[in-house]
């Protein structure tokens, strides 16, 4: 059974399907519907024995690199989450096939947005290689 990482981005994808405001500007009932749907996705994957893990990331991003001998690491704070492609969180799933991973991703992307209709959010589907990582 292959494992997949389904990455949710703040503003990701080949092209935005349609723009939408940040969630704190949605109607309260739309916020509730959205959160309830995501809770339901987690429960569904767990019930089906497909959920490995689900995690959200804070939007604060710091780029870090080695600064050289005896020097402090070089850091830069990341761009604003609302305007850039930044990972917001992920599901890790263990499924029968790539088709099933695509199906799950499409289902997540149908999450209700402002006004109650689907958000059509792009989901980034990545297969996880088996075995110990040898190179990061």
């Amino acid at each position: 059974m292959p494992k997949y990482l389904l990455l949710k981005h703040y503003r990701g994808g080949p092209e935005p399907h349609h723009p939408f405001p940040p969630m704190d500007q949605w109607a309260p009932e739309d916020v509730e519907a959205h959160m309830a749907f995501l809770r339901h996705v987690g429960e569904l994957l767990e019930e089906r024995g497909e959920l490995v893990g689900v995690q959200a990331l804070t939007p604060a991003q710091t780029w870090v690199r080695y600064g050289g001998p005896d020097a402090a690491p070089v850091t830069t704070d990341g761009p604003l989450p609302e305007t850039s492609d930044l990972v917001a969180g992920w599901y890790m799933i263990d499924v029968e096939s790539h088709e099933r991973a695509v199906e799950v991703a499409a289902y997540i992307s149908s999450e209700p947005g402002p006004g109650g209709g689907p958000l059509y959010e792009w989901i980034d589907v990545r297969e996880i290689m088996s075995g110990e990582p040898s190179d990061g």
């Binding site: 704190d24 500007q25 109607a27 739309d30 916020v31 959200a56 939007p59």
Partner: protein, 404 residues
């Protein structure tokens, strides 16, 4: 380790775990190396699980001590252990104390040794004093079992060769127990219950009123836990909680413990925070909260440090809420201004300002502050709650505008 979990439960987990600190303290006081003694006791516990169901011992504590000692002797004979013993020869046998409370306090001082990082202090305390398995501790902090095992053995290695007969720093012990308590909001294990159990043991071992203050604070907050989340897992703020769900028995115990601490007349931060929690618990409804009294206690709390804005910004922020309720939202917001430099990047600062803006009727400012708080939140439930608060404030503002 999970095999250990299940069989312990069959045996009477509580009774067995209560013996852990007593047996371990006895071994360490006798001059045994903490690290080796802890390993030997873990082996003795496994042996107990195998043997006790068939042959229950007459004196479980003596049985564990004997088997652990035998393991220590075996280990000492082995090559690897010989080296370790040479390092630890300074440890002279000490007269063993017999009181249970003493043992707990002694072990807490070992586990909360100032040379250890807070995460290690917490892990070691849960294992050596709480008697939890490595697996249970790993689960509580969402890390792999191997990682937690490594953290614990590194901590024990740090203690190797340290003199463990000096009285330690009680303030560190209290802070570690409070860390255990607050960590429970995120994890799966009932760490809050464990922290309360350990704090209760600690109060048997020391007369220090702050130990009782901490126990009272935990009880008075824990009492509200059943009302803190709704059935969907959403955070319910104090002013909207169903007070009928609060644990009255726990509140009564917390209040009793707090009274006995305050009677000593040596106030400290845990006692003061417990007093504030007690006032919230006492209010029949949010409206009847005695904010002037709460503000008076916050005045005491910030007076405990010379420069509260830098040394105890959380106290100043809590006080700002009380100021908002007693003197008006504008005054409360002015109090938060003093914290901008220290807490301006923390979600709680923005959340408090959202609350105070809402109190003043400035809904657009409240919505902005809640959204700023949501962006900085580091807990999913809190982030979701703050997004909801922002959306709610914005919708209420729209509604107001339409009715004008």
């Amino acid at each position: 380790m999970s095999a250990l979990d299940e069989s312990t439960r069959r045996l009477d987990e509580g009774a067995l775990r209560a013996l852990v600190p007593r047996v371990l303290a006895g071994l360490v006081r006798r001059g045994e190396d903490f690290d080796a003694a802890e390993d030997a006791l873990q082996e003795a516990l496994l042996e107990a699980l195998r043997v006790w169901p068939e042959h229950p011992p007459r004196d479980p504590r003596a049985w564990l001590a004997t088997v652990a000692t035998r393991r220590l002797v075996d280990a000492r004979r082995s090559e690897a252990a010989r080296h370790r013993r040479e390092e630890a020869t300074h440890a002279e046998p000490r007269p063993a104390a017999t009181e249970e409370g003493d043992d707990t306090l002694f072990l807490l001082f070992c586990c909360c040794h100032p040379d250890l990082a807070p995460a290690s202090q917490v892990a070691l305390t849960l294992r050596a004093v709480g008697g939890l398995t490595t697996r249970e501790i790993a689960d509580a902090f969402y890390v792999p079992e191997a990682t937690m095992a490594q953290r614990i053995s590194r901590a024990k290695r740090t203690l190797r060769g340290r003199r463990l007969d000096q009285p330690g720093d009680l303030a560190v012990v209290l802070r570690v127990l409070y860390l255990v308590y607050t960590a429970s909001h995120a994890g799966r294990m009932d760490l809050a219950g464990e922290a309360i159990r350990l704090a209760r043991q600690l109060t048997l071992a020391t007369e220090e009123p702050e130990a009782r203050g901490l126990l009272a604070l935990m009880l008075l907050n824990h009492a509200r836990l059943p009302a803190r989340l709704d059935p969907e897992g959403r955070i319910v703020t104090l002013d909207r909680q169903d007070r009928g769900l609060w644990d009255r028995r726990e509140i009564a115990e917390g209040a009793r413990v707090l009274q006995s601490a305050l009677a000593v007349q040596r106030p400290g931060r845990y006692q003061v925070e417990a007093a504030i929690a007690a006032l919230h618990d006492d209010a029949v409804s949010a409206k009847e909260t005695d904010w002037p009294q709460i503000l008076a206690w916050y005045d005491d709390l910030v007076a405990l440090t010379d420069d509260p804005v830098r040394q105890d910004p959380a106290a100043v922020l809590g006080r700002a809420v009380a100021v908002g309720h007693v003197l008006g939202a504008a005054a409360g917001l002015r109090e938060t201004d003093r914290l901008r430099e220290v807490l301006g990047e923390r979600h709680r600062w923005h959340a408090v300002r959202g609350h105070l803006h809402e109190l003043s009727g400035d809904l657009p400012a409240a919505a902005t502050a809640y959204a700023d708080a949501a962006r900085r939140a580091t807990d999913v439930a809190e982030r979701d709650h703050l997004v909801r608060q922002a959306a709610r404030a914005r919708a209420a503002e729209l509604c107001n505008r339409e009715t004008l």
